[in-house]
Symmetry: none
Subunit: 243 residues, 2 copies
């Protein structure tokens, strides 16, 4: 039912939290766990906290970087407690669940990653650049740091509730084709960056902030695969213009 969701943990320090996350996932019917450079894994602490959900631990996949972990995903959400000065499309846990976990033929094909950062410092900006949305759990502003497993519990709980309501999601955009995967979007951004360099638009010192702004635009647009093809066709013509 929630088989198109994966939970991605980035550089988790405490193996007990990984076990707690596995348990929280299984309680709510989410089964795919990806670990990006965990400090310790596998571990007896993780297995102990997992209780009866060690099947999720044993099928967890370990990656060396976040890009690899989300390569097959069309939608990437990054959990964030911080109020960031840069604005980013943001969804609460409930909004996320209502947007992506309600039953919908079209969306059921999309693979969705929900990414949780380090216990102490969350996700870094270059990791958030890979996300289409920030995911926020509303909470006491005076004490907003949820335990990692607790945060995953709340998010998976909301997904579970939304998946059972059988409501049609009316939020968001209808796309004709299937949404582009994270890998396709990365290739597009590489192509875009190269083209902007080729036409002399990008100055080395400003390229990062410009690329971040452009990512936000195209991530918001939630491109389908055909649209990516069109935009890359335009990039090729720009590169070859007057050659």
């Amino acid at each position: 039912m929630l088989s198109n969701f994966k939970i991605v943990l980035v550089e988790t320090s405490h193996p007990g939290n990984i076990g707690g996350v596995a348990r929280a996932m299984k309680n709510m019917g989410v089964s795919e766990l990806c670990l990006v450079s965990p400090k310790v894994f596998p571990s007896a602490d993780a297995t102990s906290r997992a209780a009866g959900s060690d099947d999720i631990l044993s099928s967890a996949i370990v990656y060396g970087c976040l890009q690899e972990a989300i390569a097959d995903c069309q939608i990437v959400l990054g959990a964030s407690a911080r109020d960031r000065t840069i604005s980013w499309p943001e969804l609460t846990a409930r909004e996320c669940a209502e947007k992506f976990a309600t039953v919908s033929e079209a969306k059921a094909r999309d693979k969705i990653a929900i990414v949780f950062g380090r216990e102490n410092s969350g996700l870094k900006n270059h990791e958030l650049d890979l996300c289409h949305y920030l995911l926020r759990i509303p909470c006491n502003s005076a004490y907003s740091s949820l335990n990692l497993a607790a945060a995953v519990q709340v998010v998976c709980y909301e997904l579970f509730i939304a998946s059972g309501q059988q409501r049609e999601s009316t939020i968001g955009d209808k796309n004709e084709g299937s949404l582009a995967s994270a890998r396709q979007m990365e290739l597009f951004y590489e192509h875009l960056q190269q083209t902007l360099a080729d036409i002399g638009f990008l100055h080395v010192d400003k390229s990062q902030s410009i690329m971040r702004r452009l990512r936000r635009i195209y991530n918001r647009a939630a491109l389908d695969t055909k649209e990516v093809d069109i935009l890359r066709g335009i990039l090729r013509f720009s590169q070859n213009h007057n050659k």
Copy 2:
């Protein structure tokens, strides 16, 4: 705002869970913790898991039996994962929150206890006899045992949401600048079309359908004025490339 709620833990075995519960409560603005015959308390494990919520631990009150812990409460809810053969008025976590945590003068005077049982065996029937409602957290029926702190996290999260303390919904996109006007968007689309013609991408016979697709992409992205400036800057560089 949730000051009329108390969380009651009955015969908790693992002190780490008591700390996890304190943290979950504080994250969601619930502060009154009662412990009925905890196996170990206070404890370094509890304090460690509590992170910054040790104020809740230090003000927690320990009771010898459940009756004493709930003596000042008008409403008592007992958390239960089990499908019991005896029928009992039952509320889901969300129903409970909507019934008791929404703002209401009348309800604000009632003291409400939410009681959580032992990690392995929950609440006994003679304890449930003291409850007005069973409180159920919907979850995967094949694996329905939530960790104690995770269960408290979900319930307190629902209370927090229902209490209306969360910030205004931020659904959709936050843009730094003001959204581009229709006039600015038309100028952008004219510029885009001219550029695509200049670089040889647009064939006259297909230009209408391509432009329609591109309009859909950028309309979805809901560009702000600064973003339009950036994109038009890119168009200018494309037009002048290799001139």
